[in-house]
């Protein structure tokens, strides 16, 4: 029986879909069998980020409504044979499925795969309730902005109210330079407010935009700083104890990048 992990944030645009794509690909890189489930019905993106848009025949709603079999709704990834995507429907909306149907779907997928990653839509309504319905574990994505942290806080409250204890925090798009100047919320501030375990910090990286547009997750790119951060996060999800990147450094860029991964934060 696999693990169902929901990736959520409350606020839109903080990087849920990018995170789902990268963590999913990372888990596949580690040899795990993984399925990515796009729960953002009506605004599907995960297929685009994965570069699999042109392969879609059936979608999540078709599977739930039993228009097709479970296997038919799955798209095999271009690069990894052990990575699959179940895309959202684009012509329907969130009310097309119920939390009960999602629970059954994730349960069926968890029997086939080691990891089921659910990409949650923004918001706290039906779509969010669908996304968390079958999950046993949750990752909350936020950026170092007051509004994103506020929404993450709300989401953590809702997750805990729905018996998803111990959500883990992923802070996305940290700008090293801005944090150093004191212009950006730092990691300690965010962790202090949200009071949950930190899964990882992903630095802001232009490479992400490039790879997202190309449909190739940054995690496979060895040169990408964000990719490195995602590789660390994947190892932490698998239970390894990987030290956090240090951000408080005054070194030049090259030494910083070279040394940045070797530190324990506290």
């Amino acid at each position: 029986m696999g693990e169902v992990i929901v990736i959520t944030s409350g606020k839109g645009g903080v990087g849920k879909t990018t995170t789902t794509a990268n963590i999913g690909t990372g888990l596949a890189l580690e040899g795990k069998s993984v399925v990515l489930l796009d729960a953002d019905i009506g605004l599907r993106n995960l297929d685009v980020v994965m570069g699999l848009e042109n392969r879609i025949v059936y979608d999540l709603v078709d599977v739930v409504e039993k228009t097709c079999r479970l296997k038919q709704g799955l798209i095999k990834d271009k690069r990894f044979p052990n990575l699959f995507l179940m895309p959202a429907a684009q012509t329907k909306d969130k009310s097309a499925v119920t939390p009960e149907q999602m629970m059954e779907l994730t349960k069926n997928l968890a029997e086939e795969f080691e990891y089921v990653l659910v990409d949650s839509p923004a918001g706290i309504e039906q779509g969010f309730k669908n996304a968390i319905a079958g999950a046993s574990r949750s990752i909350v994505v936020t950026t170092p902005e007051v509004s994103a942290v506020r929404d993450a806080d709300r989401i953590i409250g809702l997750l805990e109210a729905n018996d998803l204890k111990n959500p883990q925090l992923l802070i996305n798009r940290i700008k090293l330079e801005m944090v150093k100047r004191g212009d950006m919320m730092n990691i300690d501030d965010i962790v202090d407010i949200l009071a949950i375990d930190l899964l990882g910090v992903v630095p802001d990286d232009e490479q992400i935009v490039i790879s997202t547009n190309r449909g190739e997750p940054a995690i496979v790119d060895d040169r990408s700083l964000a990719g490195q951060a995602y590789r660390n996060i994947v190892k932490r999800i698998l239970g390894d104890n990987i030290p956090f990147m240090s951000l408080d450094t005054d070194e030049g860029l090259i030494t910083k990048i070279a040394r940045v991964f070797g530190f324990v934060r506290k």
Binding site: R150, D151, D153, R154, I156, G157, L158, I193, L194, A195
Partner: protein
């Protein structure tokens, strides 16, 4: 006349007057006057929490009380039944009893709600009594109590104490950095440009119709 037939005993709650010996009530009155009048300013504002030693009658007690309050500017706490007179010299025991009475002057007897954990954005806690949070209250969270609110952590949200109009309610926190505080129907908001951070435990109370935040 032996002046030491009247003895003042100080306790942390106020002065206790001990009437020693067998002098008459009139003599005691004179002795008291002799003792207090020369240092009237020293005694002004002092609290008398009781008499002991020679037993006095209620009329005498009231007379003493009126003299002490009107002529000397001191305050006598309580009334004849609760405070006055025993023949015992055991002030210790007496003042213990008064302590109990005194404490209720600053205390609220209400039901209490204790919550351990972080109160997050969108969470609304309403309770018909006192609320105590052992943990932080985050921005966007809302607490409403009929009586007072204590946050043993960082108070960053909105709190409404004395929701049925009780201005004696208060809001206290280890760190009081709220969005907004309300006591009764009075509303105070944090200064623009982010909450002020004092770094010490503080309490918000109502004084002269305004919410005042001060260290406690």
């Amino acid at each position: 006349m032996a002046k030491n037939e009247i003895v003042f005993k100080g306790t942390k709650d106020g002065l206790h007057i001990l009437l020693k010996g067998d002098s008459s009530f009139e003599e005691f009155k004179n002795m008291l006057d002799e003792k207090i009048r020369p240092s009237k300013r020293f005694f002004e504002g002092a609290k008398i929490i009781g008499f002991s030693g020679k037993s006095i009658r209620e009329e005498e007690y009231l007379e003493l009380k009126s003299i002490i309050e009107n002529q000397y500017g001191m305050e006598v706490i309580g009334d004849y039944n609760t405070l006055n007179v025993s023949n015992s010299y055991d002030i210790e025991e007496k003042s213990k009893k008064y302590n109990e009475i005194l404490e209720t002057r600053n205390s609220v007897e209400e039901k209490g709600l204790f919550i351990r954990g972080t109160i997050r954005s969108g969470q609304f806690i309403k309770f018909n009594g006192n609320i105590t949070i052992i943990g932080d209250v985050n921005p966007g969270a809302y607490l409403e109590a009929k009586s007072s609110i204590i946050v043993m952590g960082i108070m960053r949200g909105t709190a409404h104490a004395g929701s049925d109009g009780n201005y004696d309610s208060y809001i206290a926190a280890f760190r009081l950095e709220p969005m907004q505080l309300r006591i009764g129907d009075i509303i105070a908001r944090s200064p623009d440009g982010g909450p002020y951070k004092s770094g010490v435990p503080e309490i918000a109370v109502v004084k002269r119709g305004m919410i005042i935040v001060e260290p406690y």
